[in-house]
């Protein structure tokens, strides 16, 4: 029983990290109607940036976010301007290919710079832990969860309490109409992409402290993140957060109750079950989409 409780607690704590990464992904989808397959690679890039700062300048991974998040924001804006904006026709399908290419490019570059050996971000709070309910939790999980909550809260505040947030939500609802009432959708898109990518940097730091990673880790990551946002309903931040936590709890509990090798499978199986019952996802609106 303690094991199951432990699994649930860790599911919630790691679910928070996935919620952060997935919300960046679903935000990008909502605003631009594109699937950023490169999101997983950007998370890994964020982890490696902090890794490089830790190794070369001994900067604490959490502190390094002060540098990496703005840097990744800029990278996101540039990527949007150079690769996403020129796509005119068949945007949805082409954007998948373009962002996949970005993922491959990042994977190749990281492999060249850091080799394919596994790396992990180290800090004192990664090894130090405290006991609760009869099991130990490393401090990094608590700090990471707190950081994710803070960033998610900031995103929600920006979206629901600022003029810029209104512009973003208007663009998500109806791009053409938003443009007609004077929203600069190109600017909104670029900034939303930047925000999405900078959340990847934050997610990357926590992911990098709780997992060993190498440049190829993004495949596993992106398949999970995509599953989460489909489950939550594409473009729904609330759905992404809830789906992330639910999925991670189920995965961790499966690992304990059945077997760790089936944990990831349970994760995807949940998607199948939900799709059979509710094809639009938890919070999705049933839209008649056109490719």
């Amino acid at each position: 029983m303690t094991l199951v409780l432990e699994a649930v607690v860790f599911g919630i704590l790691t679910g928070g990290v996935y919620a952060l990464m997935a919300s960046g992904l679903t935000l990008i989808f909502g605003v631009m109607r594109i699937i950023n397959v490169g999101h997983g690679a950007l998370v890994i890039l964020g982890a490696y940036l902090s890794f490089a700062l830790l190794r070369s300048a001994n900067i604490d991974p959490f502190v390094s976010l002060v540098i990496t998040m703005p840097a990744m924001f800029l990278l996101g804006v540039v990527l949007q301007l150079v690769f996403i904006r020129p796509l005119k026709e068949d945007r949805e399908a082409l954007s998948v290919l373009v962002t996949y290419a970005i993922a491959l490019g990042i994977e190749g570059l990281l492999g060249y710079l850091f080799t394919n050996n596994f790396a992990q971000l180290n800090a004192w709070y990664e090894t130090a832990s405290f006991a609760v309910f009869g099991f130990h939790i490393a401090y990094v999980y608590i700090f990471g969860f707190g950081l994710c909550l803070a960033i998610l809260a900031a995103i929600f505040l920006v979206l629901y309490r600022t003029t810029f947030g209104s512009a973003v939500r208007a663009t998500m609802l109806n791009r053409t109409a938003a443009q007609l009432v004077g929203v600069n959708v190109d600017r909104v898109s670029a900034i939303a992409f930047g925000i999405g990518v900078s959340t990847a940097a934050a997610g990357g730091v926590i992911f990098g402290m709780t997992n060993a990673f190498n440049p190829g880790s993004h495949y596993d990551l992106i398949s999970r993140l995509l599953t989460i946002i489909v489950l939550g309903g594409l473009g729904s931040l609330r759905g992404a957060v809830i789906a992330a936590v639910a999925m991670l709890i189920i995965e961790d509990v499966t690992a304990v109750v059945i077997s760790p090798v089936w944990a990831s499978f349970a994760f995807f199986l949940l998607l199948v079950v939900v799709l059979v019952v509710r094809p639009q996802g938890l919070y999705g609106i049933r839209v008649r989409e056109r490719i």
């Binding site: 989808f29 399908a93 989409e289």
Partner: protein, 348 residues
């Protein structure tokens, strides 16, 4: 629309020449390294053509076709092992069995995945691919898990080894092309194109959209499964990560986009251009991970410069030239043969 007899004769002649030249490759080129490239190129011609039936005609972009490729390979390996088939030419007879099993898998996956559309469908196919990969890894008793599954090793000598596989892949490519060609001119194909252009309107005018797209998905997957089966026998040893490789799934999609989505010859052209290029890159830059960077760069250039693909772009150019000649150099004929793009509403 029927082309004039002269044009049709020219097309058939061109086709026969291409097939004859393709069939003669191993006769004139005996270097195993080159025949190896030819095997993979023929393989991708078949894969891209099969994918195009779903992705191009029906408009449902699947990034998970690597699942069918790997499943076909695994199914084939297991069938051979359980029936105790000896290495040699006999296994090729059982390739359709692997295809049939893949069709059954596609029925199950398609039934679920095709409840969704557009972006959601793309993501669901990716998730399905990873599910199949996890199954291949976890069902150790059946698939051998991470230690892989081995095939009977053909008794052929080194310089002849690739030739039977080349012909097998070539046959599969031609079968895929024939099916793609037939679909393109059938009522079924017309229904698929209608689904691509507007599924709800297609439903409204009586196209049985659900049955049609599921059928297209199964045909597409079955062909990919058979090609995967031959691939498994060719490499003689498969692991979950290599048999179900996301890169295979994305490569064939890129080939279709390069050549021209939804055209008959686009996938062929894309595969013939990209696969040798990819192998060349892997050979020259493979040691460092820079190979991936170069590949990504090629990828981005292709999509940003030729978003519509070679065949539609060149086709438009030719039509424009013909129209100009018919009217005279100074004439300004309306040459918007390209109703496709004109009519399409710009989606954000």
């Amino acid at each position: 629309m029927r082309s004039p007899a002269r044009v049709r004769a020219a097309k058939w002649t061109a086709l026969v020449i291409v097939v004859v030249v393709a069939a003669l490759v191993p006769v004139f080129e005996t270097d195993p390294a080159t025949v190896n490239i030819a095997v993979f190129t023929a393989m991708y011609v078949g894969l891209a053509t099969a994918w195009n039936i779903m992705g191009g005609y029906t408009g449902y972009v699947s990034l998970g076709h690597a699942a069918f490729f790997g499943f076909g390979a695994y199914a084939f390996g297991l069938v051979l092992a359980h029936l105790g088939i000896q290495a040699g030419y006999e296994p090729f007879v059982f390739v359709p069995v692997a295809g049939a099993l893949t069709v059954v898998l596609a029925l199950v996956i398609g039934w679920i995945a095709l409840r969704t559309r557009a972006a959601t469908f793309v993501i669901v196919t990716i998730a399905m691919m990873f599910m199949i990969q996890l199954l291949a890894e976890n069902l150790v008793g059946l698939t051998g898990g991470g230690s892989g599954l081995s095939f009977p090793v053909p008794p052929w000598s080194g310089d002849f080894f690739d030739t039977p596989f080349y012909y097998a892949m070539l046959v599969m490519a031609l079968v895929s092309l024939a099916i793609s060609w037939w679909i393109r001119r059938s009522k079924f194909g017309l229904g698929l194109l209608a689904i691509r252009d507007d599924e709800d309107k297609a439903l409204a005018v009586g196209v049985p959209a659900h049955a049609y797209k599921l059928t297209a998905f199964m045909i597409s997957a079955g062909l990919v499964g058979m090609i995967g089966a031959i691939y498994g026998y060719y490499v003689t040893y498969i692991y979950p990560q290599y048999a179900i490789d996301p890169l295979v799934g994305i490569s064939l999609v890129l080939m279709v986009f390069l050549g021209g989505l939804g055209t008959l010859w686009g996938p062929v052209l894309g595969a013939v251009i990209l696969e040798p290029a990819q192998l060349w890159l892997a050979y020259n830059f493979g040691a460092s991970r820079l190979y991936l960077v170069v590949y990504a760069a090629v990828f981005l250039v292709v999509i940003l410069l030729l978003p519509r693909g070679i065949v539609p772009s060149v086709g438009d150019l030719v039509k424009r030239l013909i129209a100009r000649r018919a009217i005279g150099p100074s004439g300004t004929a309306s040459t918007s043969s390209d109703t496709h793009t004109v009519a399409r509403v710009q989606s954000p």
